[in-house]
Symmetry: C2
């Protein structure tokens, strides 16, 4: 009974840990900023601060890429920018299609961060015939009927789904069938894809819910605080970017150990 064990660690090719990969774009941006200011070198400490991580982690991350630094000195900015870009595959051009040109899709199409990082919006696709031909961010929207052709003609391998939840899986299936192997999903749905296809999801409401969880906890912790937050520290200088105070402290105060709570049962 294949326990679905066929999955490989995703981080297969014995190489860079997934967690490190996820931080490379972060370092890259900090480095790009330094590069623009013509800063020649940075220490792990400085770069870490700029990227919002700690220096030990940064050095460990870089150690997976190779020994690109100079002991006693630091890292050469330009060199690192190149190395990381190459590692991420950003030295090549990635055509991307965005499906679902609603508010979000339009925002994404207008997003400048794409082009500046090796991504190129090859096409905007929407199911609404009325949208066809209308230019969004300077690119004419095409109808869903053209999806397969667009992907083939442009050799697109990355697709962005910004459709309503109901259409997401269907769009996903077509994208995959057409040859897409990486998908960025903004629709609040779990997409089913065959092995070999990568899916990353961005869910706005989930992020808010996680914040709400911590917010609730803070409130409960502050006794019966009424006017909380009145004394927020102004924070002028770039203080230790310890954004989230060491994560959720997990006080024990809330909720009894055993089932409590009014049992709201299904009617």
């Amino acid at each position: 009974m294949a326990t679905g064990r066929t999955h490989r660690p995703a981080t297969r090719s014995r190489g860079i840990p997934e967690a490190t990969v996820a931080r490379l774009p972060l370092y890259l941006r900090a480095l790009t900023a330094l590069s623009e200011r013509s800063v020649p070198t940075v220490s792990s400490e400085e770069l870490a601060t700029a990227a919002g991580v700690n220096s030990a982690k940064l050095r460990k991350d870089f150690s997976y890429l190779g020994s690109y630094g100079t002991r006693g000195v630091g890292y050469d900015v330009e060199y690192l920018v190149y190395q990381i870009s190459r590692e991420l595959g950003l030295t090549q051009d990635w055509p991307v299609v965005i499906v679902g040109i609603g508010n979000l899709g339009a925002a994404l199409a207008n997003y400048g961060g794409f082009a500046s990082r090796g991504f190129r919006v090859a096409a905007l696709i929407d199911a609404d015939p009325a949208m066809a031909g209308k230019p969004v961010a300077g690119i004419p929207v095409q109808h869903t009927d053209e999806l397969e052709k667009i992907i083939e003609d442009n050799g697109v391998s990355i697709g962005v789904i910004a459709t309503p939840a109901g259409a997401a899986q269907q769009v996903c299936d077509r994208l995959v069938a057409a040859g897409i192997t990486s998908i960025l999903n903004f629709a609040p749905t779990v997409l089913s894809v065959p092995d070999g296809v990568d899916v990353r999801k961005v869910d706005l409401s989930i992020e808010l819910q996680i914040l709400a969880f911590h917010e609730q906890r803070k409130a409960g912790e502050e006794s019966t605080g009424h006017e909380e937050g009145a004394g927020a520290v102004p924070q002028a200088p770039v203080a230790p970017h310890r954004t989230t105070a060491g994560g959720p402290g997990a006080d024990s105060g809330r909720q009894g150990p055993d089932g409590d709570v009014p049992a709201v049962m299904p009617a």
Copy 2:
């Protein structure tokens, strides 16, 4: 350096692991769907499939909340919906302000997922005087000058930043000074906030870059051999949905700085 971290005693008895918290919204969504279809109970296996995780993980996650299931049967859908909602703090109403009403801000304002989860857009704020008064998603945009007043009057504790990178830290400082203690940041900047303030970041460009990394890897792999089956498995029906390979695990957006977001604003 100032090691003055406000380290909490660490997870004691009732502390729910961060990784679990991050998945609760996922379960909640799947459960809500089941609830709407009037499904009375689900097994961990079914629910896990619907949420895109494996059942062992799901059961472990639920075990942190309490013993809400029935052995040999499964979980009562309605009851679980309630329990998770309560745990996440969604049984109360969370007023939210969105700052920066460009393309993205407008998209967020129009996003239905907020309202359906206990979040209420209390106000839309933008620095452009020309925007003032204009309704977006039925809510009139207010000028930044009103920021502090709006937050106080509405008792807002969660803020969403969708401004250009350059304005983000400044807006953040004002939000925090006004009493905001949780921030969802879409701007590509590392925000500095005082202890006690939670920041989560959503970054579009980073997600794409991570996809590019894996995409590049797939391409390179194919030339050396096909044994890895880079191609999609010919599975028409819903295959094992491993939604996100290495996806935004536990901390997709936790204070991790960096991001390149669509901050489309009045330049």
